[in-house]
């Protein structure tokens, strides 16, 4: 079941956000979650995803820093990259658009429909 659903990796340091994301989109996507960018990079060694969504403010490594590493591993899309964050400076987001092929930045609290549309838009964009 769900083998034909798009595979999505979601990274956030708030476990509640991970649970909620999974609960919200479990019908639409095949979701894997990671509590830190380090965990996410471990997962990326074994699996491939259509979309990677990350929080920006995380201890140890920011979302953009994480996406830069992803860019090094996967120079091309997919995986598509998205940031979902409660707060971020404009320059940082701009940097991500220019250097990490960021597809979209979405503010928290997220609107489920908007986020779903953005993910689907990303998947169809290639």
């Amino acid at each position: 079941m769900g083998n034909n659903k798009p595979k999505i990796l979601y990274v956030d340091d708030e476990i509640i956000n991970l649970q909620l994301f999974k609960a919200t989109f479990r019908r639409d996507f095949n979701i894997t979650t990671a509590l830190s960018p380090i965990d996410a990079l471990e997962i990326l060694k074994k699996e491939t995803f259509q979309v990677i969504i990350t929080d920006q403010k995380m201890p140890g490594m920011t979302g953009v820093e994480f996406l830069k590493i992803v860019q090094g591993i996967f120079p091309n899309v997919p995986p598509h990259r998205m940031i979902v964050s409660g707060y971020s400076e404009n320059e940082v987001v701009q940097d991500a658009y220019e250097n990490c092929q960021l597809h979209k930045f979405i503010s928290k609290p997220w609107n489920a429909k908007e986020l779903k549309d953005a993910i689907e838009d990303a998947i169809q964009s290639h």
């Binding site: 956000n17 909620l20 609960a23 409660g86 997220w110």
Partner: protein
């Protein structure tokens, strides 16, 4: 044939009578010695090359004759000659005559590199000898061989050579000799070292004496300096005295001048008196004339005599009156002069006093205006300070904004998307319940109904739903709690301060500061709280919150990666102590004195206002408290705040 003759000559003509004979014998020796020597390269050469170092014409001519008439080992003989250490490259034999023995040590290094036989004459140091011709007793010439040196040259020598009248040099003897000379040198050196040591000692002693003398000199110099100082002082005293004398002289001169003026006045008065005196005298004379007239007219004027006597009496009385009048006049003049003088000086003093008064008034006026200016400036400063405090508060709020936005948006996300999930899941559940509620409907096909239920259960993944719903509700609750907490913290921080102190609990302030800063330290810095029993007390709570935010924010910034912050509070004798300690980078010693200065910051431009700690200092002072800091580079920083609380 001649060579044979010469050999016989060697043994027969023992006493040498002339230089020619000696040269002939030397030449014969060298040619014959050469025959007993084998050169490693002699197969490849046509002639034997003999090189003479010396200027003995007889020897040279003998060699010329030999080279023309004789052969050695069937090779012709080639002769060259000079008086320097330059050796022709084809040389096989070198002869150094006694006069040029000095060159032997210079020639030797060249000879050592090639197979050359070196023949010396009367050479003393046997170590350098290959074959040495020497004058023996009874004017005979003998030769001696140092075989070791010949072997070193790769030259082999026939032992029969000794039959020509030679001896071998005793190598052991040579070694002993050199050893002995070495020992002698060693002894000499030891003796020299001893004497050097002795010299060193005497130098040391001399140095010590010199030092002592230098010390003496220094002492004497000090004494001299003292003496000079004393002299200078004396001179200064003398100068002072001189100045005083000059001043005294000056005043004396002034007094003299005034005395002169007075004496001149006196003289004038005297003149006047004298003039009057003259007048009186003239009157006297007139009187006398009248007297004489009276005498002459005595008889005629007997009657008038009495009247005249009376007149005389009157005149004498008048005289007395005149004298009296004169003395009174003098006294009056003196009095007038002194009165005039005192009046003049009084007037001067009055004028001065007035001037001073005027000046004082001016200064007073200036002071007053300056005072006014100052109080104006102080008022302005106070205004600016309060503005600064407000703007610093806003700036630190600005710095916190990023964190606060993140902190609020995350729990809001819990609520927002949680509600969304519940809505969707509820729809699925209602749909399922609707189907289930048809259990009593007898018109439907029970098998299809059961299939429908099964399909819907798997569609909405019911087992997951049952897990998701409580989790989502928990998430929403957490979101609400966290949002409420942050809002409370923010309002704590930014509430408008009343002018009067309020009763508040500092632990609440610490908690709200930590809440606002959570995003900066979470998962990175461990916060430990050792909070004592602190009663609520009268203070300016939002100002104290600002203090906690400032110090905690600095502590968090000082910890680059992971670390610890310990917050302790304790009440000691009506004084609250708050200690905030971090394991950060620490403050440089030279910066410690400046951290409470306004605008001092070590943070990057835009990261700090440089006002935080200076305002903190001001706030603690407003509470009659103290703030101290201890810091060590690489270990951390600890701030200690003490605030006295009234015992109510």
């Amino acid at each position: 044939m001649k060579t044979f003759l010469i050999i016989i000559l060697l043994f027969i003509l023992t006493p040498i009578s002339a230089q020619v004979n000696r040269a002939e014998i030397t030449g014969a020796y060298i040619v014959n010695l050469a025959k007993y020597v084998t050169w490693p390269n002699e197969q490849g050469i046509d002639s034997l090359h003999i090189h003479l170092i010396g200027n003995d014409i007889n020897l040279l001519s003998i060699f010329k004759i030999l080279s023309e008439e004789t052969q050695i080992k069937r090779k012709s003989i080639k002769i060259t000659n000079n008086t320097s250490a330059k050796i022709p490259s084809t040389t096989n034999i070198i002869f150094i005559s006694q006069d040029y023995s000095d060159l032997l040590t210079k020639v030797y290094p060249y000879v050592e590199k090639s197979p050359i036989l070196l023949v010396s004459e009367n050479y003393v140091d046997k170590r350098w000898v290959m074959i040495n011709l020497y004058d023996a007793e009874k004017s005979k010439i003998h030769f001696e061989i140092n075989k070791a040196n010949l072997t070193n040259q790769n030259l082999s020598i026939d032992p029969e050579i000794l039959l020509l009248g030679g001896t071998e040099i005793d190598l052991i003897q040579l070694y002993r000799q050199s050893q002995h000379s070495l020992n002698n040198i060693q002894e000499d050196m030891n003796a020299m070292t001893d004497s050097l040591k002795r010299l060193n000692k005497t130098i040391k002693r001399t140095n010590e004496q010199l030092n002592k003398k230098q010390e003496n000199i220094a002492q004497q110099e000090q004494l001299l300096l003292n003496y000079e100082n004393e002299k200078l002082e004396e001179k200064q005293e003398i100068d002072n005295l001189n100045k005083k004398i000059i001043v005294i002289n000056h005043s004396l001169r002034k007094q003299k001048d005034s005395m002169e003026i007075q004496s001149r006045l006196y003289l004038k008065q005297q003149d006047k008196i004298q003039n009057q005196y003259y007048d009186l005298e003239i009157g006297k004379e007139n009187l006398e004339i009248q007297e004489s007239n009276i005498d002459s007219l005595n008889i005629k004027i007997i009657r008038k005599n009495e009247i005249l006597d009376k007149q005389i009496l009157i005149i004498s009385r008048q005289k007395q009156v005149v004298y009296l009048f004169l003395s009174i006049a003098i006294l009056m003049i003196i009095l007038v002069i002194s009165v005039y003088r005192s009046y003049k000086s009084k007037r001067k003093a009055n004028a001065k006093l007035e001037q001073q008064k005027h000046k004082t008034d001016e200064v007073n006026w200036e002071l007053q205006s300056k005072n006014e200016e100052l109080s104006h400036i102080i008022e302005k400063l106070k205004e600016t300070q309060s503005q600064l405090i407000q703007s610093e508060k806003m700036a630190s709020l600005g710095i916190l904004t990023a964190g606060i936005a993140h902190e609020i948006n995350n729990p809001l996300n819990f609520i927002y998307s949680g509600a969304n999930i519940l809505e969707t899941d509820l729809q699925d559940l209602i749909k399922l319940l609707n189907t289930v509620s048809k259990i009593n409907d007898k018109t439907i096909d029970k098998d299809k109904w059961a299939k429908d239920i099964k399909l819907q259960i798997s569609d909405c993944e019911l087992h997951e739903l049952i897990e998701i719903i409580p989790n989502t509700i928990k998430g929403i609750q957490t979101g609400v709690e966290r949002t409420a907490e942050i809002v409370k913290g923010l309002s704590n921080f930014s509430r408008i301060e009343k002018k009067e102190k309020q009763i508040a609990n500092i632990h609440e302030g610490i908690d709200s500061a930590l809440l606002l800063l959570r995003n900066k330290y979470k998962n990175r810095i461990e916060i430990t709280k050792n909070l004592g029993k602190i009663p609520s007390f009268k203070c300016f709570p939002s100002k104290l919150n600002q203090v906690f935010i400032n110090i905690l924010n600095n502590a968090i910034d000082a910890i680059k990666n992971e670390g610890e912050i310990t917050i302790s509070t304790i009440l000691i004798e009506n004084s609250v102590r708050i200690m905030i300690k971090d394991t950060g980078t620490g403050i440089k010693k030279e910066d410690l004195a400046k951290i409470f200065d306004p605008f001092f910051t070590t943070k990057e431009v835009g990261k700090g206002t440089g006002l935080g700690l200076s305002i903190t200092f001001g706030i603690i002072k407003e509470h009659n408290g103290t703030i101290n800091v201890n810091s060590e580079i690489g270990i951390g920083t600890e701030f200690t705040i003490k605030i006295p609380i009234l015992a109510n």
